[in-house]
């Protein structure tokens, strides 16, 4: 858990992902399309991956299907793909990113 928090605070946008996950690929593409370059941590390539997965699952709650992808913006937990998309559609994602310093006008 501390690892997660530590890693999440390191960058403006942090994504916990897995190299084999296609939804993670989608979310990476979304941020790249907006001009954001997030810090990506592939859990399947990390020795502590399993623990981090468990920590993320407990963070996200029981309703989420998968622990990845999980997005942190400005050190704060944002959530999974659907949360990110909802934020983007209602126009709040970009201000968040700008606030965190991931985007400049």
């Amino acid at each position: 858990m501390e690892t997660i928090e530590r890693l999440a605070a390191e960058n403006a946008v942090v994504i916990f992902s897995m190299s084999s996950c296609c939804m993670c690929h989608a979310i990476k593409h979304l941020f790249a399309g907006m001009g954001v370059s997030p810090a990506i941590h592939e859990l399947d390539e990390d020795p502590r991956g399993k623990d981090m997965e468990l920590a993320l699952t407990s963070l996200l709650g029981p309703s989420t299907a998968s622990p990845v992808p999980t997005v942190f913006i400005g050190g704060k937990l944002i959530g999974s793909m659907d949360t990110v998309m909802s934020l983007h559609i209602n126009g709040s994602l970009v201000p968040l990113l700008m606030e965190a310093g991931a985007l400049w006008l």
Binding site: H25, A26, H29, L30, G33, M81, D82, M85, H88, I89
Partner: protein
């Protein structure tokens, strides 16, 4: 009288040969070659036949005609190979032999038997007259009765079970049955009852074999028919009879799909009602508060639609992603199992005028963000497709050890397929959020017009699908021009040109 004496002299335990000799002397014409035949084991039935023949001969006192006939028959018997021991009716008849005065003629061929019997039948009244002995007349009476019964029996179905015939003959002949006479041959004592039983068993077995064979054949043909019907049904379903009905009331492959189609049909009816209300509200120029209720009702109705979609994505994602839940025209624009939000926005933009500048900006932002989200999801789906293709194709496809880890690869592919549900769910989420955002951007009246416009747009697409399905088509397989059922003038122009191409048909 003479017969009786002969019958008695014929009695012995040693076999039919004595009988034959006994009758032979009486009948003057039995070829001696017949006796050789009786030495064989397998000739037991033929010995029986021989005895019967002798019995016939014994009755006849007419003369050479009958003797010749009997001789011919006997010769016929001896010349036949000892394989035809399959006449079920023989032993039954055999009990009619008593004292060897049987009127029945069991030849090796039932046809000829019938002939000879009819011969006998016609002759028996004659022989009856010629008999001088009262007791023998009586005997002959009884025997004629038996003969006539047997005639009937012979003429009737040979494959009939022997029980009825046996019962009839039993009834008639029991008083006359002389066990000593019947079936003494080759040292084995087989009385008439045993023989009859054996024959009945044979017949019954044969009948049941035939019945079983017929039944099995019937089952096989029904099974083939059933599998063909199933194939036809499957083919028909997969080709999608959705053209006929607008709301997918046709058969579906899975119950999840069927459930969704049913729910969707109901949802469509409800949404039509909502649209009518919206239209009425707009035309009546209702105040905002009243209109708001209707608009919110519409939005809630869309939420309900996405809820149903969520359930369907879990039960049958392919039904959604292939667009089988919707009409063909809508399917043209299919993206991730539904409409593409940015496309819908593009359609709606001109309908929403007049809008404020701020609203315009927001709508443009909405369009841009939805496009980006759509792009991201499409990219993710594409990667899923590549990954799935790699997994399915892993290992040699054509030659080599592709059997090796087949199930392993298959289970990996299954796991990857499971991700489809996630993508459809995210796409639905995108659509739902777009609609909600629209509601937030627009005023009540604009929102009312917006939802009305969306409803009307898809109604038109659905109508387009129905029109397309029921459009007049030329029957291009018609060989001659006159029978084409086209109705529109445009079609007719093309129609005249086409038959020339298909004249080969």
């Amino acid at each position: 009288m003479a017969n009786q004496r002969v019958g008695e002299t014929g009695l012995s335990a040693s076999g039919p040969s004595n009988q034959a000799f006994g009758y032979g002397t009486h009948g003057h014409g039995i070829p001696s070659s017949a006796t050789n035949f009786f030495d064989q084991e397998g000739a037991s039935y033929f010995g029986e036949l021989e005895a019967l023949m002798q019995g016939v001969v014994g009755i006849r006192s007419d003369g050479d005609q009958k003797v010749a006939a009997a001789a011919a028959a006997a010769a016929f018997v001896t010349n036949r190979p000892p394989t035809l021991e399959i006449f079920p009716s023989w032993p039954m008849r055999f009990q009619q032999i008593p004292r060897g005065n049987s009127l029945s003629t069991e030849s090796t061929d039932s046809g000829s038997a019938q002939n000879t019997i009819s011969q006998l039948g016609s002759d028996s009244p004659v022989s009856k007259k010629t008999s001088s002995d009262q007791s023998s007349e009586q005997q002959q009476h009884q025997q004629q009765q038996q003969l006539q019964e047997q005639q009937e029996m012979m003429v009737s179905d040979v494959s009939r079970t022997g029980t009825e015939a046996a019962a009839a003959t039993n009834h008639q002949s029991r008083p006359q049955e002389k066990r000593r006479v019947a079936g003494v041959r080759d040292g084995r004592t087989l009385d008439a009852k045993t023989l009859r039983r054996l024959a009945q068993n044979r017949e019954a077995a044969k009948k049941s074999r035939l019945r079983k064979k017929a039944y099995v054949q019937q089952l096989e043909s029904s099974r083939i028919k059933l599998t063909q019907l199933e194939q036809d049904l499957h083919r028909a379903r997969s080709q999608g009879f959705l053209l006929q009905t607008s709301a997918g009331a046709s058969a579906n492959m899975s119950s999840g799909a069927a459930m969704f189609d049913m729910e969707y049909a109901r949802w469509l009816d409800e949404s039509l009602k909502n649209m009518t209300e919206l239209r009425a509200g707009l035309q009546a120029h209702l105040c905002d508060t009243d209109l708001r209720i209707i608009v919110d009702e519409c939005l809630t109705h869309y939420d309900e639609f996405f809820r149903l979609r969520g359930i369907a994505a879990k039960t049958d994602v392919f039904h959604l992603i292939t667009g089988m839940w919707t009409t063909p025209a809508e399917r043209c624009f299919l993206w991730m199992g539904g409409f593409r939000p940015s496309e819908l926005l593009k359609v709606l933009m001109p309908q929403l005028d007049p809008v404020t500048e701020q609203q315009l900006v927001m709508i443009c932002n909405l369009q841009q963000s939805s496009t980006q989200a759509e792009e991201a999801l499409s990219q993710g789906l594409e990667q899923l497709q590549h990954s799935l293709a790699d997994t399915v194709a892993s290992g040699a496809l054509s030659v080599g050890d592709y059997v090796g880890n087949y199930m392993g690869h298959m289970s990996m592919a299954l796991d990857k397929l499971a991700n489809l549900e996630g993508f459809v769910r995210q796409a639905d989420n995108l659509r739902q959020q777009t609609l909600h955002q629209l509601r937030r951007i627009l005023t009540i009246r604009q929102a009312a017009r917006c939802f009305l416009a969306i409803g009307e747009y898809y109604n038109r697409l659905r109508a387009l699908s129905s029109l397309w399905a029921s459009r007049p088509r030329e029957n291009i397989f018609v060989p001659d021009e006159g029978t084409c059922p086209t109705t529109t003038s445009d079609m007719q122009v093309i129609h005249h040109q086409i038959p020339s191409h298909f004249s080969a048909f």
